[in-house]
């Protein structure tokens, strides 16, 4: 806002230069697929937006959340530690997000967090969810289970589950879905490392999502640090649950709420970090595990979003 006001008060020539500069910056940001800091503060000049032509990336960037078609652009996760890492509060909806797990046996935790995100998205947006699942994922991790989904806070009736035969078909299906603005979200599930799912493929998905404003969530299990164009990448590992009540302690305590350790290893819309989160399936909200309760060692720092090492992820480092 401030910069925008500044622009209009300066001399015509200076204004022109600044306009140009802002436009160039925006274009670079477009090419890199990220949101420039000044662009999100200043409303985009109309002329600049018009001149950009087909670069649909720029369309939504200057527009405040929630004004276009009454579809919210950002989704608040309602957990301060999670919301605070983004440039503005909440997860961008018109984008590609990755939820990854390093070990394939952690598929429960990875699916859990991904589905929790999906559940939040499904609350915020209407429509059906296109779920595209690779054949390996079904074999390795099991198939979706309706009654479990329902308890978890996801209405299975809103899912359209697609079983492609090959990776190319899966990517094509995801892209087709991401083009269809009537959908609530597109969810892709991939097991293991795949050559087809490279930087280009994820970039295509990202562009589609930005055009149609349909969030795409990609769940990749059993991968290390594959290149991706996704806006965020959440690395999920399981985390011991907090027992429901303290009295019932013994050699075999009851299993508590689902909880995970989540590391935001890549965030082009803010800064990376990590946290321990719990999912309250009753209310459909994320919770931070209370410190006073039996938190296992290692999660002590989980409250404060400790920035992870710079380097790979420094691009999206917010200031």
């Amino acid at each position: 806002m401030l910069i925008g006001a500044d622009v209009h008060q300066t001399s015509p020539k200076g204004a022109h230069q600044r306009d140009r500069l802002a436009e160039l910056r925006r274009r670079i940001a477009d090419l890199e697929g990220r949101l420039p800091l000044d662009a999100q503060l200043a409303p985009a000049p109309v002329s600049a937006a018009a001149k950009q032509g087909p670069a649909s990336l720029g369309d939504g960037q200057g527009i405040p959340d929630g004004t276009r078609d009454h579809v919210p652009l950002r989704l608040r996760l309602d957990l301060p530690v999670l919301d605070a890492v983004f440039q503005r509060e909440g997860l961008r909806l018109d984008s590609l997000h990755e939820v990854v797990g390093r070990e394939s046996r952690d598929c429960g935790a990875v699916s859990g967090f991904a589905l929790a995100l999906l559940a939040r998205v499904m609350r915020a947006r209407s429509g059906a969810v296109l779920w595209v699942s690779s054949p390996q994922a079904g074999r390795e991790n099991g198939r979706l289970y309706g009654p479990g989904l329902q308890q978890f806070g996801i209405d299975p009736a809103r899912l359209i589950v697609v079983f492609p035969r090959r990776m190319e078909e899966l990517l094509w299906g995801l892209e087709e879905g991401a083009r269809c603005s009537g959908l609530c979200a597109v969810f892709g599930e991939v097991q293991g490392v795949s050559r087809a799912l490279d930087l280009t493929a994820t970039r295509r998905l990202l562009l589609r999502a930005q055009t149609s404003r349909v969030p795409v969530i990609l769940m990749r299990n059993g991968v290390a640090d594959e290149p991706t164009a996704a806006l965020t990448r959440w690395c999920v590992t399981p985390h011991t649950s907090r027992p429901p009540d303290l009295e019932h302690r013994g050699p075999h305590e009851a299993v508590g709420r689902s909880g995970w350790r989540v590391t935001l290893t890549r965030n082009r819309d803010g800064r990376p970090g990590n946290a321990c989160v719990e999912w309250n399936h009753e209310t459909g909200q994320f919770d931070a595990p209370a410190r006073s309760l039996a938190l296992v060692s290692g999660s002590a720092g989980g409250q404060d979003l400790a920035p992870v090492e710079r380097g790979r992820t420094a691009q999206g480092w917010g200031r």
């Binding site: 046996r105 952690d106 598929c107 429960g108 699916s111 859990g112 967090f113 589905l115 929790a116 609350r123 991790n141 099991g142 198939r143 979706l144 289970y145 309706g146 009654p147 479990g148 989904l149 329902q150 308890q151 978890f152 806070g153 209405d155 299975p156 009736a157 899912l159 359209i160 589950v161 697609v162 079983f163 492609p164 035969r165 078909e169 094509w172 299906g173 087709e176 879905g177 083009r179 269809c180 603005s181 009537g182 399981p238 011991t240 649950s241 429901p244 009540d245 075999h252 305590e253 009851a254 299993v255 508590g256 689902s258 909880g259 995970w260 999912w279 309250n280 399936h281 009753e282 459909g284």
Partner: protein, 537 residues
């Protein structure tokens, strides 16, 4: 009255040309090889069908012989039948070497029956077949004239005259009957027609009289076509064959426009469309697409086929080009007034349309791969939900509201609970745990578990070669075998299904699994087995 075109095809491969070497196809019956079919040269040399192969070889040493290949012959006949689709949708196979076409109402499109017959025969001859054909009012008469007679087009009511000179075999009656009739001096059909019927039936059986009636049209015999006649058909013939995908798509678009009009008149929309591409060399390629919803928008029909053609490049092997393209509606469903897309805005809406997406995905991946999760009212957990093709599902059938009930009454949907009920739930001090896993491993995988006897939770278990130590556990939740289903739920080995005790467990690292012990210790089994069936969040 059906006008029947009959074509006799000697199914053996014949080669065109004036000076062919003598060639025969032989088949083995018992211990004797006999000739099944011969070419012209071989016949000119005095060989006949059913000759012994050894004798034939002795008489014609340079005879070329090929073994009979019934499956290839059948495939060839099928291909020819496909090709004959250009004349009528009702094509039936007739034995192993004939085709039966019901051309009722089609002949005028080809300038009459005579012209149609000539056209069909000459085109088939061009393809290198030796063909005989006839048109008649009844299938039996057409068969007789085509195989035993010379007359090609039998005028309506002229069956008597046409059939009279033909031998009795032409009626396709039992060999014994033919022999008996010949013995008593009745060699032709004409001789039978003048006889009183009762003695004939008495002596030679009712079948003979029935065949006569069928031949003369006193009794009707339906033919059984290979495919049901499509509901709506639009086709276009080309003087010059076309071969480019873009051209084919453009033709599909214009045909789809015609189909749409017909569908609108019927107040229907198509659920399955078939595109038949007739290649110049006689091959016919068929592409079928299904839709999730009655459809008659030409643009979308074209888009579906374009999608399909894109993925199956093998389908569109144009060769020398197509000379006939036909679009048929195979399956239709009632569809009342749909809004026509008029503006750009409308087109954008169509893009956002869910059923359009399902159709597009289905055209490329197969409609059976686009599924919805349906709740099932079943007892065993792994059967309580099923993936059903989305195209088969009515929207109101996919309701998970109130699913679970007594089984796990805690499952409730976030949206459906009334506010007061929600408040009541929130007053409960205890949070209800997740009772069912997010993902189900089906079939459940056996694990090696160490557990407390007789019905304690597992202490550690090995799954996929990794050892897990159980830290927390909940259970058992006992699910008895469905006694009412008898042995249906017995597993593959045929054993009776046993009681399952389910446990939710968490390992040291926080992975949560759903395990069950099969069989009650000491009551149903001495060594209960453990299975891992689900993964929790």
């Amino acid at each position: 009255m059906d006008r029947i075109l009959r074509r006799l095809n000697a199914a053996a491969p014949h080669k065109a040309g004036d000076v062919e070497p003598p060639f025969a196809v032989a088949s083995r019956t018992g211990n004797v090889h006999r000739l099944v079919s011969l070419n012209r040269t071989a016949r000119a040399l005095g060989l006949k069908r059913q000759d012994n192969l050894a004798d034939a070889r002795a008489r014609v040493p340079h005879l070329l012989v090929e073994d009979v290949a019934p499956s290839q012959d059948a495939a060839l006949l099928e291909r020819l039948a496909d090709w004959c689709d250009r004349y009528t949708p009702l094509v039936a196979l007739d034995g192993t070497d004939g085709l039966l076409l019901d051309i009722t109402g089609c002949a005028h499109l080809f300038d009459g029956e005579e012209a149609l017959l000539v056209d069909a025969l000459s085109r088939l001859k061009q393809q290198g077949f030796v063909v005989q054909g006839a048109v008649a009012d009844t299938p039996v008469a057409a068969f007789a004239v085509a195989r035993f007679g010379e007359g090609r087009c039998v005028a309506s009511g002229a069956e008597r005259a046409a059939l009279s000179p033909l031998p009795i075999e032409a009626l396709r009656v039992d060999v014994d009957v033919v022999r008996a009739l010949n013995r008593v001096g009745l060699p032709t059909i004409g001789a039978l027609l003048d006889r009183p019927r009762a003695p004939l039936a008495n002596r030679f059986g009712l079948e003979l009289v029935r065949r006569l009636d069928l031949a003369l049209g006193h009794e009707k015999e339906p033919i059984s076509p290979r495919f049901a006649a499509p509901l709506v058909v639009a086709e276009r013939r080309f003087f010059e064959p076309i071969g480019l995908v873009e051209d084919v798509e453009a033709v599909v678009f214009s045909l789809a426009g015609q189909v749409r009009e017909a569908l609108e008149r019927r107040c229907e929309g198509g659920r399955a469309f078939e595109l038949a591409l007739f290649r110049v060399d006689g091959a016919v390629q068929r592409v079928v697409v299904g839709t999730s919803r009655p459809l008659r928008d030409a643009k979308r029909i074209k888009a579906l086929f374009a999608e399909k053609l894109k993925v199956d490049e093998s389908v569109l092997d144009a060769g020398y080009g197509y000379d006939l393209i036909r679009l048929a509606v195979v399956e239709a469903q009632e569809a009342t007034g749909q809004q026509l897309v008029l503006s750009e805005e409308g087109a954008a809406q169509a893009d956002a349309d869910l059923s359009g997406l399902i159709d597009r995905l289905g055209a490329r991946l197969g409609l059976d791969r686009i599924t919805r999760l349906l709740p099932m009212d079943r007892h065993l957990p792994e059967r309580q939900t099923e993936f059903v093709p989305a195209a088969l599902v009515r929207e109101d059938a996919v309701s998970w509201v109130g699913f679970g009930g007594a089984d796990f009454g805690l499952g409730r949907s976030e949206h459906e609970t009334s506010p007061s009920l929600e408040a009541a739930w929130q007053e409960l001090p205890l949070e209800l745990p997740l009772e069912r896993p997010l993902r189900l491993i089906d079939p459940a995988e056996p694990v090696d578990a160490v557990a407390m006897v007789p019905d304690g939770p597992p202490l550690r278990f090995r799954w996929r070669r990794v050892l897990y130590k159980v830290v927390r556990s909940e259970g058992p939740e006992r699910i008895a075998p469905p006694w009412w289903a008898g042995n249906i739920d017995a597993d593959v080995s045929g054993e009776r299904a046993t009681t399952r005790d389910y446990f939710r467990i968490e390992d040291e690292d926080g992975r949560r699994f759903w395990l069950y012990r099969e069989g009650l210790y000491a009551r149903e089994t001495t060594t209960p087995r453990w299975y891992l069936q689900g993964v929790f969040a």
